[in-house]
Amino acid sequence: MAADPESSGGPPPLRRRAAPCVLLLRHPPHFTLIDRPLPDGFRFLKPWESPLPFDDFLASDDVRSAEAILTSQGVPVTADMLRRLPAVRLVLTTSAGLNHIDLAECRRRGVAVAGAGEVYSEEVADLAIGLLIDVLRKVSAGDRYVRRGSWSGEGEFALGSKLGGKRAGVVGLGRIGLEVAKRLEAFGCTVSYNSRKKKPYVLYPFYSDVRELATNCDVLVICCGLNEQTHHMINREVLLALGKEGVIVNIGRGSIIDEKEMVQLLVQGELGGAGLDVFENEPKVPEELLALDNVVLSPHTAVFTTESLSELCNLVVGNLEAFFSDKPLLSPVLDE
């Protein structure tokens, strides 16, 4: 049983104070997909269960007492929302990406932010490589060819291209980028990278300009986050620099690439191929891509394995319990 809080001198154990209120902007699919209930010890406020429109819901006394917000990829935490919920001290997201959170406002208000940390890094890297092999070696295209009964032993289906010896450019060398680079090396690719800043202990050649990186690469793998600087960073010039035989893989966010330009270049044969797990207006995928054999399309699944979801749920619960016990967050988002 819990000791008398006065005598132990520590903060009250979770059970002894009123359950902290957490505003849940969307029921996290990460929990439902693996049949995991939300953790006990917290009061989750669910806008979709209220008859009130969202604005009125936020204004209600109940919700104004929320001390934390739990959100998911694509569900924004805006400056306005933070202003209207002055008791919020923590924003927690189930995603690795942070582009849906107004980080500047959080910083101004001293609101802590925590995300998925490194829970997904290996899985996302695995999918990036899977997409790359698929595009270069035409795995899905081959599967389509066999399934429609076209395989007759006469070899009309064009061969793919070898991975080994290809020059690969990793855009964004965070944990995911590093895991991607490690795998690329095992396949005999040479790795260079572009990042906001050169990384001090990394031996891969650094390019400060992403277009220059593309000029010197056969393959680009987009592993960075989406923010003001990276929005449409992969534009027409970069894609043209990558070239007719060039392949782009995107497991970051759709808007890092100027999608309209990319589609046009793919259709015109100015870009060799693409492996895409993310799109500017998901789940909408540009129709022109559906007719192309040199693209592989993935419905934003990079993080969705049973193993990573399980770890993610543990992390969410762990972060909530830590925060409300005045302990350090497990996966705080640090300012760089």
């Binding site: 695995d126 899977g130 070696r137 795998r183 095992a186 995928v285 399309l297 419905p299 969705f304 193993e307």
Partner: protein
């Protein structure tokens, strides 16, 4: 002047090489080969093959075996070639060559697996990621317009931490193991003999390998011993969640049994580049999302084909110059 080529009336005679090839094959290599060697091709002659060999090939010292030749590289052919010293094989596998016969006669054999092994390994890993992370399934899902309408794909599975059993640790198997290690997989293998200095766990039989693996990757040659090596017992040992990737030969697997288990949910999934009666693929597989089907191309890229040509020419040139062969098969 090339010391190996005899001169005759000032005309440089290229060394003779007997070419054994499949009848239907459009030859990607002959242009390159013709510059260095004089090719004798029984399929190009109106003479019946045996007669061609006995009358024209008695002095032939080298033979090039392209893929699955119409004339097998076995006793009935080799008995007609008394001067033969070298067999150059273009494929990764050696199943159409009678190796014991060659050994008895002191005929050297070279293979081409070094030219193919990286591409073969890349593809094997690609198939595995595809099965585990539903890449082709997802692509199909998006192309069918299902993403907005039907929500999500079923979850995939992480590669890291999975136990991968490699069947056959030759060049393709070794390259596959190296790649999967970078994904955090635990690698074990079965091979005819244990390999020393290899950091992977060895199992002396495939059944035990399967019992201790989540995934089997088939990278071995097809021989009498390995035919249906992945049988009912091995599949049971692998278990209901097990995954099989085959970039070897279709007949390594009891295909009928595999299909039945896939239908009944007694095996987790499969990535198949080869089939017992290709290009015929069992109908049941066409409607399954947990299989990835591939038209026998794991080792083939323009780069590997160029590599094979280079290796063939390299071996033949070395032979005719009395230099060490580049990819000599060591008899066990």
């Amino acid at each position: 002047m090339d010391a190996s080529s005899p001169q005759n009336d000032g005309v440089l005679l290229l060394p003779e090489v007997l070419l054994l090839r499949p009848s239907a094959l459009a030859l990607p290599f002959t242009a390159g080969l013709g510059a260095h060697f004089r090719l004798l091709d029984p399929l190009d002659s109106p003479e019946p093959a045996r007669s061609f060999l006995s009358s024209r090939c008695r002095a032939v010292r080298a033979l090039l075996c392209l893929f699955s030749p119409a004339l097998p590289v076995k006793a009935e052919t080799l008995d007609l070639l008394p001067s033969l010293e070298l067999v150059v094989v273009s494929s990764a596998g050696l199943e159409h060559v009678d190796l014991p016969y060659c050994r008895r006669r002191g005929i050297a054999v070279t293979n081409a697996s070094a030219a193919f092994c990286e591409d073969g390994a890349d593809y094997a890993v690609g198939l595995l990621i595809d099965v585990m992370r539903r890449v082709s399934h997802g692509d199909r899902f998006v192309r069918a317009g299902s993403w907005p309408v039907q929500g999500e794909l079923p979850l995939g599975f992480k590669l890291g931490g999975k136990r991968v059993g490699i069947v056959g640790l030759g060049s393709i198997g070794s390259e596959t193991a190296k790649r999967l290690a970078s994904f955090g997989c635990n690698i074990a293998y079965y091979s005819r003999k244990e390999r020393l200095h290899v950091p992977y766990t060895y199992y002396a039989n495939v059944h035990d390998l399967a019992a201790n693996s989540n995934i089997l990757v088939l990278c071995c040659a097809l021989t009498e011993d390995t035919r249906h090596i992945i049988n009912k017992d091995v599949m049971s040992a692998l278990g209901n969640e097990g995954i099989i990737i085959n970039v070897g030969r279709g007949a390594l697997v009891d295909e009928k049994e595999l299909v039945q288990r896939l239908v009944r949910g007694e095996i987790g999934g499969a990535g198949l580049d080869v089939f017992e009666h290709e290009p015929k693929v069992p109908d049941e597989l066409f409607v399954m999302d947990k299989v990835v089907l591939s038209p026998h191309r794991a080792v083939f890229t323009p780069e590997s084909l160029e590599g094979v040509q280079e290796l063939i020419i390299g071996n033949l040139k070395a032979f005719f110059s009395n230099e060490p062969l580049r990819s000599l098969v060591q008899y066990e």
